[in-house]
Structure formats: structure tokens, C-alpha cells
Symmetry: C2
Subunit: 143 residues, 2 copies
DNA sequence: CCCTTTCTAGTTGCGCACAACTCAATTGCG
DNA sequence: CGCAATTGAGTTGTGCGCAACTAGAAAGGG
């Protein structure tokens, strides 16, 4: 395979490859519900937080409106969310789950277990990886 | 990992977010040369291996022809690579660096150092992360 | 109170990723 | 050998991700 021209470079590539491999694990189940991984992430935020502005979704998922606007539009078309203008600040748009969107939470309740099973890491390794990825995410230029 | 604590889900999201944060570190330098991160990855393989078929590039980068064909076409338009049909097997296409493509190797020689500097990890942490990501990449369904 | 500055969401454009497909070249099995 | 199955590259279509931009609403200073 690729000879290391420097460990950092290898790590960067592995990050890129591992991220895609990860979403590939989710794909079969998500496909069955007509969802993509980013759409699933947005739904997860709504399941935990309830009604949320596009702005807050962006801060939480680290995505801008250029990505979120069409994504949420598709979730709305699918009937999983509703989008309403904020009343006290008409710039904001509040995203809220429909019954269909709420229902998905229980329908896909076993997804975490599936993923945990596919990724063969111990509890300690999960925690280590969690911490290391946290450090990567908080690097310079990501403030 | 038998009991899903929700941590796996967090790790998956962090993988997704960290990967994008990583490429964002490369972006300013790559932009200056009119390159994207996947294009840079392809060039790195060619710098190290010399002439390589599209098929082998795909195996190494874990990308299919649907992604590579247009990407390599753009690198060819930019003048960094040449694409020629294989002589022994006319199905294959061999990708090779032009002078311009070779020159980029020295022009961007300081990029690894930039990245290592931005990502504030110790040598040991880099190695740990390398190993953990390797495990993630070799999970079930990624064979 | 007006006017500039800032902020939120959305739109456009481009380049990945990936599925599904086409087509030609090669392989392999009878 | 003949021909079906496989393989390698490319094309098409969809949905991100991100830069650059727009439109409209709010904030704030004079």
C-alpha cells in the first residue's frame, strides 16, 4: 500500500479513509429508510434537543447553511421535519420533527449496536480514539 | 463492544468532523496550487510509485473509477499527469507524472511539516491514532 | 431616527463519493 | 476454438461540503 512519506500524512489519509469506511457501515440501514449519514446526524440532534435553529444545527454539526439548507429541504420533502420562521427573530428558521421524524428514532434504535459490532474496538480503544479525535478537531485553524 | 453507550456514535461523528477539519488544514496550501485534497493524494501515490494504473490508484486510495476518472481528467487538464492506454492490456490506463507534476513534489515539500505543526499531537499520540484508525478501516464489511 | 454593520438563511457553482450503468478488452471454461 | 463471464475505465445522476454570493432582518452608533 502507500509507503509512509511521514506519519502525519498517513494519519490524515487514514482519517479520510476511515471516515468513509464508517459511513459505509451506516449506509445499508440508512438506505433502507431513504436517509444519508449527514441527514441522520441532523435527525439525531433533533431527537436529543427538540426544535433547533439552522444556526445551532450548523454549530453542532460543524456545517454551514450552504450544506444544511438543501439537506433540511430534502428532510422536509421526505416528511421528517418541519421548517418555520422564528417569530421574535425572523432571520432564524426553526427545524422541528414531524411524527414521521420522531418515529425514525425508534425504528433505527438498533443502529448504534450494529455499528459498535462492526467496528471491533474495545471500550478502552473507543475512549482513546474519542480523545485523540477531539484533539485533532481542536487544532489550530479550527477555532 | 457489546453494550452501546452512545460513544460509538460520538466517535463516528468525530471521525466525520475530524476528517473535514484535517482537509481544511491542507486547503490553503492546496488552493494556492489549484489542487484539492483527493487530487493531492493521487499525486502523492504517483510521486512515490511512478506510473500507476487507475485500478491500482483505486485500490490504494480506496476510490472507484467513478471518482478517479474525472479527478484524473482534471489533473490532466491542469497539466500535472498524462494518461495512456496500457499496451499489454488495453483496458487499463496508466497515469504518469509530467514535469509539472514532478515539480509540485518539491514545491509542496513543506506541507507535511505544516500539518504536523497544526495538529498538536505528540509522536506517541500520532502512532496511537494511526493504529486505532487502522483498526477502524479494517472493520467488518470493509474487506 | 437614520444609516451602516452584522447576522441568518438561502442560492449557485464546483469537485468529490458512490451507486448504477455502459462498453470494450480479456479470461476462462466447455 | 467459441462464447459466456469477468474486468477496467468511463458516464450519469444524486447528495454532500465548501466558497462566494444574495436578500432580508436585526442591532447599534451617531
Amino acid at each position: 500500500m502507500v509507503e509512509p512519506t511521514g506519519l502525519e500524512q498517513m494519519v490524515c489519509f487514514q482519517l479520510y479513509a476511515a471516515s468513509r469506511a464508517m459511513t459505509a457501515v451506516y449506509r445499508p440501514t440508512l438506505d433502507a429508510h431513504g436517509l444519508t449519514y449527514p441527514q441522520y446526524l441532523a435527525l439525531r440532534v433533533l431527537w436529543h434537543r427538540g426544535p433547533t435553529t439552522v444556526r445551532d444545527l450548523g454549530k453542532i454539526l460543524d456545517l454551514d447553511s450552504g450544506t444544511l439548507s438543501p439537506l433540511l429541504k430534502r428532510l422536509e420533502t421526505q416528511g421528517h421535519v418541519r421548517r418555520t420562521r422564528g417569530t421574535h427573530d425572523e432571520r432564524t428558521v426553526i427545524v422541528d420533527l414531524t411524527d414521521s421524524g420522531h418515529a425514525l428514532r425508534t425504528t433505527m434504535a438498533d443502529l448504534p449496536a450494529q455499528v459498535a459490532c462492526a467496528v471491533d474496538l474495545t471500550e478502552d480503544e473507543f475512549i482513546q480514539l474519542h480523545q485523540l479525535l477531539g484533539k485533532v478537531r481542536s487544532m489550530k485553524g479550527t477555532a
